[in-house]
Amino acid sequence: MFNIPKESAVPFGCVTPAPVGEQPMMITGNWREFRPVIDNEKCNLCLNCSVFCPDACWQMNEAEDEMVWNAKYCKGCLICVNECSHDALTKAYELDFPDGVVRLEKPF
């Protein structure tokens, strides 16, 4: 009766399997205008960034004893920059990076 494109089909009741890890159906990194940049010399691994990040984009690499940033999902809210206890995080303009994302290049 209705012609629904396969790639746009929605599961019944709009329920999706819960992602174990990352949700590839909802990349939000390209919403970013600024990104946080870490200075590992200053970082004391207090984990404030990890605790305050609303999108779980800071995780500790325990082997290397350093914080790892997730570029795929960081929306650039910069809460981590604000909460950093040792000024190890700074705000940087996205388009200054060769791999910088352009907002709305691909909206979602």
């Binding site: 209705f2 929605v10 709009c14 329920v15 819960a18 979602f108």
Partner: protein
């Protein structure tokens, strides 16, 4: 054997929900619906009903608790009135979009300002386009029956939609009336235990309810619900026929006719004021006016086909509007627009107009129906209506 009891609408609703073996109830007080929760909490405390009884911190929380409980596979019940209904508004679309058959009782009440507690249909009619079933009861008996019928329809795998089960505040909710209480075995035969579909929460199979979707999927999600409503009439007919068979009642699924044979004029009405309208029709007939009455049992899904077919038999139809739609196409309430739309394709159309009546909890006295019939008869004679809305009791001198 089924036995007869004298129950208010609220007490009848509570008893129906108990007999439906509800699993999770979430309450928050607001009159006039509160009495239902008082009854249910007593049943739970006395050990007559094995259900989780949760006190919400507001109506939004009530609906959110039921949303979660329903997603976990429970048969749920909640309710509200007036501003409580509108306070929970945000939750209505996610629940129907999530295809969870939550049931919410409405004992309707006028919206603020200024704190009018009387009956009026506007509160929940504001939510008529949120993907919930919706319909009014005329008596405590019909309220009792509608709870069972709505659970059965809403939980049908072809439907999976939430339901507003409505009754007029005070006029139905607080006036005791005779109710035939069926045997538990009859209820069990009609209403099997809720068996949720594949989208029930399960720790072994984690899933996200209400995730974000892309804009290009939005229309498709809307289409899912629209399709469910297209398929609904068949399920409603089946459920009502089954109900009539098991409980020995005689409900029409969507539209009930009263004294309409040979009638020239008809009132179109929903809810508790129908009781007064029936008497008005009888008295008007004694005076020689051929009047009948058509009662709407489901506002959603709106029975477009039935309303069109039935109303095209008359010469004039007066819609009783116990709701407001400020600035709407008919300049009064929202029922007349639906009625006219249903008649648009009919070969023969009656003249139609509406009467604002019973607003703010006012009664609709017999004389208002007589007055409405007089206006209607004049319009039929003239072949057209002067205007689409009259305010009962407030412009009598015009007639």
């Amino acid at each position: 054997m089924a036995k007869e009891k004298t129950l208010s609408g609220c007490a009848a609703s509570a008893l129906a929900v108990k007999m439906a073996k509800v699993d999770v109830i979430c309450s928050y007080p607001i009159r006039p619906y509160t009495a239902t929760m008082m009854e249910l909490s007593k049943m739970v405390a006395d050990g007559e009903l094995d259900a989780e009884f949760v006190h919400g911190e507001g109506e939004h929380a009530q609906l959110s608790v039921c949303y979660g409980a329903s997603a976990a596979g429970a048969r749920t019940f909640t309710g509200s009135s007036g501003v409580g209904v509108t306070y929970a508004f945000e939750t209505y679309s996610p629940i129907s979009g999530g295809r969870l058959p939550v049931q919410m009782m409405i004992a309707d009440r006028a919206l603020d300002p200024p704190g009018d507690f009387g009956s009026e249909h506007t509160d929940v009619m504001s939510a008529r386009d949120q993907g919930w079933l919706m319909g009014w009861a005329e008596t405590p008996q019909e309220a009792f029956d509608n709870h069972l019928i709505n659970y059965r329809i809403g939980e049908d795998k072809r439907v999976m939609l939430p339901q507003f089960v409505c009754q007029d505040g005070y006029f139905v909710s607080h006036i005791p009336n005779k109710v035939i209480v069926p045997e538990q075995a009859q209820v069990d035969e009609f209403l099997p235990p809720y068996s949720p579909g594949a989208h029930v929460l399960d720790p072994q199979k984690p899933m996200s309810h209400g995730p974000q979707i892309r804009p290009d999927q939005g229309a498709i999600m809307d289409l899912q619900r629209a399709q469910a409503f297209l398929d609904l009439p068949k399920v409603v007919r089946e459920a009502v026929a089954d109900f009539n068979r098991i409980f020995g009642r005689n409900y029409s699924p969507f539209v009930e006719e009263y004294m309409t044979e040979d009638a020239d004029l008809a009132f179109f009405i929903q809810g508790g004021h129908t009781l007064t309208a029936r008497h008005a029709v009888k008295h008007l007939r004694e005076q020689g006016l051929k009047v009948g009455l058509v009662k709407l049992r489901f506002l959603r899904p709106f029975p477009t086909q039935e309303v069109g077919e039935i109303l095209s038999k008359f010469k004039g139809v007066g819609v009783i509007e116990t709701n407001t739609s400020y600035g709407g196409s008919m300049r009064g309430g929202s029922l007349l627009g639906e009625v006219r739309a249903s008649l648009y394709d009919a070969a023969k159309r009656p003249v139609t107009t509406s009467f604002m009546a019973g607003l703010g909890g006012d009664v609709i006295p017999l004389k208002d129906f007589y007055w409405a019939a007089k206006i209607l008869a004049q319009a039929v004679k003239a072949g057209k209506v002067e205007k689409t809305v009259y305010w009962a009791g407030l412009e009598e001198q015009a007639a």
